[in-house]
């Protein structure tokens, strides 16, 4: 992954992607790495495009924004269309399976993230945590142990089990996909 890995999480406001970014950065710190998390948002609290950025590095991080992501996660078609072309040539895009793929510029992994959150886990609001599980299973950017610890530290009291279930469902989604990819 090189010394500096740039990750962009994008979707619509209210999907919890900024929290997912914070959790991912905290997991990287638990792994002993440097991390910076930032976000861009408009005046609205929900709806509208939302973007969280995380940079993970073994060395100190100077420029704090993503220049060209190594990893792009998108949960909405709007975000996919907006960001799909700005990605490193060896980068990877993880998208929700509800998004219609167009002209994949790089490797695209399409996973039923929102459906899994909704049906298997039982609450669509944990799509952000399912996303994190899937992203980590596919990219191994942080350890599973650290992400679990970071999720448990950040989610509201009383929702730990729901979120753990969501994280594991995400791991499974990503790992299943990786196996299939290797078998091809």
């Amino acid at each position: 992954m090189g010394e500096r890995t740039e990750i962009r999480l994008s979707g619509s406001g209210g999907q919890g992607l900024i929290l997912a970014g914070i959790i991912l950065a905290e997991a990287a710190i638990l792994d002993g790495k440097n991390a910076v998390q930032s976000q861009s948002y408009g005046p609205e609290a929900r709806g509208g495009a939302s973007r969280a950025e995380v940079i993970i590095s073994d060395s100190p991080i100077d420029y704090p924004k993503v220049m060209q992501p190594d990893i792009l996660l998108t949960l909405t078609e709007e975000a996919f269309v907006k960001y799909k072309d700005n990605i490193k040539s060896n980068g990877i895009i993880i998208i929700d399976s509800s998004i219609r793929k167009s002209e994949p510029p790089v490797k695209i992994v399409s996973l039923p993230i929102i459906e899994t959150a909704n049906k298997s886990v039982g609450k669509v609001i944990v799509a952000n945590i399912v996303s994190l599980g899937a992203l980590i299973a596919v990219t191994k950017i942080v350890s599973k142990k650290s992400i679990e610890e970071a999720v448990m530290d950040r989610v509201p009291k009383g929702t730990e089990e729901l979120n753990r279930k969501a994280l594991y469902a995400g791991f499974e989604l990503g790992e299943f996909q990786q196996k299939q990819y290797k078998n091809k």
């Binding site: 914070i22 950065a25 440097n34 991390a35 910076v36 408009g42 005046p43 100077d62 704090p64």
Partner: protein, 381 residues
Amino acid sequence: MNSKAILMQGNEACVEGAIAAGMRFYAGYPITPSTEIAELSAEKLPKVGGKFIQMEDEIASMGAVIGASLAGLKAMTATSGPGFSLKQENIGFACLTEVPCVIVNVQRGGPSTGLPTLPAQGDVMQARWGTHGDHPIIVVSPSYVKEVYELTIRAFNLSEKYRVPCILLMDEVVAHMREKVELPDPSSIKIINRKKPDPTIKEYEPYKDCDGDGIPPMANFGEGIPFHVTGLIHDITGFPSTSATVTEALITRLMKKIYDNLDDILDYESIFTNDADTVIISFGSTARSVMRAVQIMRREGQKIGMLRLKTIWPFAHRAIQELSSQVKNLIVAEMNFGQLVEMVKASAEGRFYVAGINKFNGELIAPNEIISRTREVRSRA
């Protein structure tokens, strides 16, 4: 606070630093992108025996901060954009009455309500000259979350030491980003408290320079030593005067207590300047883009250095003047139409070619923009 590495937001580090420095009073009117400072102060101050007040507006907030400081508490307010404009009159009052206080301005796009959620560095000149008349002020600007913590403490220390308002000039990027920090052990932090008069003093002259350092000892209101505080020009008793001698002596002392102590107040970082032909000057989050750009250009063998100002005001003329003669170009990178660059030009006195990299569209200057502008400046005929 243990020394474990944690992910912390810039605004959060500001509150942690303020409390570590001894802040026990906060008055403010929340405004994006500084709101987390008010939120966290409201949560944390009562736990350390402090007070938080949300006032009706920024003008009253600044007034409350001055009142609390006169009563002996270390006080802070935080604001942004239009709120910083509203505070200016009372900041001037604090400058003339020599009331220590810290004002945080998280810069956002302006003018007016401008771009509330987006970064800018357009208040450089306002931080120095936003309030009217000749007055001293100290302005510090952090680039990293850890540095937000350190410079907030420093802002309180300088403010207490010199009895002057100190402005922590942040920008939206450094205020809202989260990054890995390890906070120091509180017992290792140097805290400075204002000088107080001898409590048995018979006749307290509140504005008398009794120690010869230009900084009169300051009594706390409510502790039995009453004195008069006015925004009018005043003599050593604190009462108004229109005497030319008194006026000249007061303004001179106010300026000298700052400008005679530049060794203590100025703070800047020079990186790769020894053999550089071009030095890029910046501050705040822009300095991080410059750092990236400089490292990329150094890897290509180009002789580029950088100068990062942590104290913005007083301006560090000496940092420019002490640059060696092999430096040909100075480039000032700032998220505004060109403000600090004018000070650099004044310092350069024609010795260096001075150019700017300016961006004022709500986006952080990117490293590649710095690289291409640097190339342009170095290859000019």
